[in-house]
């Protein structure tokens, strides 16, 4: 999270989240062990990756090519798995 982390005295009681929709602040990219790498030249714009991504961390462009949102992508590999032309490759994070 980008904001300063609060101490126990400052947190709302009951561990409640009182500000709705703040999960965007919680960047889960660091959970990733494998990283999807997009090869645009192989892409057939079928958008199966965009449909299947559970996050959703596939950003769809105007021309139906895609981009991966590494702030939220957890590296599950579903996109690479569903891609019929292997345009997404999983590589080790380093």
């Amino acid at each position: 999270m980008s904001t300063k982390k609060l101490g126990w005295r400052e947190l709302p009681i009951g561990a409640i989240i009182t500000t709705p929709g703040n999960s965007v602040e919680y960047k889960t990219g660091a959970w990733r062990a494998l990283k999807p790498v997009y090869h645009k030249e192989k892409c057939v714009k079928c958008l199966l990756c965009w449909i299947h991504c559970p996050e959703p961390a596939i950003i769809r462009h105007e021309d139906d090519t895609i981009e991966i949102d590494y702030d939220y992508c957890k590296g599950c590999g579903i996109c690479a798995n569903v891609c019929p032309v292997k345009a997404i490759e999983m590589v080790m994070e380093r």
Binding site: L11, A15, T18
Partner: protein, 396 residues
């Protein structure tokens, strides 16, 4: 203890709790029947059916669901109640922690019953102790009057803004739950004065959405637990104030710890629930013969009244801590662990030993108490504890 305000009636412990819950005017009751608690929720179902209590009665399919339902209703702002015992409490176990962590105001009666195996419906304190770490306030009733009074008090305590933790009222299965006793019940109007409508804190509100119980990992979980721990500790002085307020209101004195004969006692018994009366009865007889014996019992078991206990044991040479349960593989059973931990750094403390008694409803007879006092006197005389844990009332 039947002095103070109120109209004399004869009720069993279960019916007295149900009557208090009705007077507390609860909004939601969710329950699953289990002996020896069943009469409480049966009576409440009757009150709702007969229009004497305007509440939603949710007949759920398990105790897990019973507690889950009242947790949700409590978060929605309702005054809620459930009751259980033994295996039912065990089935509620994961929700016990959630009820406290989410700072609900659930009030639950626990008609203490031994855990299986083998199936037994009578009194042990296994279920009360199973809930001891989960963040619930716990009261122990010694008689039917206390079961009634403590139920009313529990709603006030749990819903207080300086507390906001769920409460359990323990009443010994059958010994209190099914015994008819004389007690004084307060007037409905008086109860309403003591117990104003609940003012919910951070309730569920569609116009102001919140998330309850979200994923909470290494970056915040420990802060939330620290806050819960600090707030639970900080609730103690407020619980004392509310006990005092109730005492004045009802004309019956409630304190976290009850002591008898400790002004000059050399040995004492510490015990929970209905057996405290038996222990005091025996102590009175022995004191009449000039023996310096005393009794300590707790009305408030969680938060544990550490300072009051430190004060109470001053001058004692030996203390027998009696547990109606057993903790396998532990150096002592559950109350013994609390007491020894509470006294560990005290400059002045008695020699202590643990007595296991009454499991599965085995009667604790006055002779057993005499036997325990004899053991305590022996420990005091010899200046050492030869047996750290003994059993009474069991065939060898």
């Amino acid at each position: 203890m039947t002095e103070g305000r109120g109209k004399p009636v004869g009720l069993s412990g279960d019916l007295a709790v149900a009557y208090a819950v009705k007077q507390a005017d609860v909004d939601v009751i969710a329950a699953y029947p289990i002996t020896p608690q069943t009469i409480i929720v049966e009576k409440l179902a009757e009150y709702v059916n007969d229009g004497e209590l305007n509440a939603a009665f949710v007949p759920v399919e398990s105790e897990h669901s019973a507690l889950s339902a009242v947790v949700g209703a409590s978060l929605a702002g309702a005054r809620v109640f459930t009751a259980t015992a033994s295996q039912g409490l065990a089935l509620m176990y994961e929700i016990l922690w959630i009820a406290s962590g989410l700072r609900t105001t659930v009030v639950m009666a626990l008609a203490n019953r031994a855990l299986s195996p083998n199936i037994n419906i009578h009194c042990s304190h296994d279920d009360a102790y199973a809930a001891r770490d989960a963040g619930w306030i716990q009261f122990f009733a010694e008689n039917v009057q206390e079961a009634y009074d403590l139920t009313l008090l529990a709603f006030r305590v749990s819903e207080d803004k300086k507390v906001l933790f769920p409460s359990i009222i323990n009443l010994d299965g059958f010994i209190l739950s099914h015994s008819l006793e004389r007690l004084l019940v307060l007037d409905d109007k008086e109860v309403k004065e003591f117990l104003p409508p609940k003012e919910p804190v951070n309730p569920i509100d569609p116009d102001n959405p919140k998330t309850y119980g979200p994923l909470d990992l290494y970056d915040y979980y420990i802060e939330h637990k620290r806050q819960q721990a600090e707030h639970f500790k900080a609730s103690y002085p407020r619980i004392l104030e509310l006990m005092r307020e109730f005492s004045e209101f009802a004309g019956r004195e409630y304190k976290p710890i009850k002591t008898y004969g400790l002004e000059d006692a050399e040995v004492a018994i510490m015990i929970l629930g209905s057996s405290a009366g038996t222990a005091r009865y025996v102590a009175r007889k022995l004191r009449a013969k000039g023996e310096k014996v005393g009794v300590i019992s707790l009305t408030l078991y969680r938060p544990f009244p550490v300072n009051e206990l430190l004060e109470a044991v001053k001058g004692l040479k030996a203390l027998a801590v009696m547990d109606r349960s057993y903790s396998f593989g532990s150096p002592g059973a559950q109350l013994f662990m609390d007491v020894t931990a509470a006294l560990i750094n005290a400059k002045e403390k008695p020699l202590m030993f643990n007595v296991i008694y009454g499991l599965g409803g085995r009667d604790l007879m006055p002779d057993h108490i005499v036997q325990v006092f004899e053991m305590a006197k022996q420990v005091a005389k010899e200046g050492e504890v030869k047996e750290a844990q003994v059993w009474v009332g069991v065939r060898e």
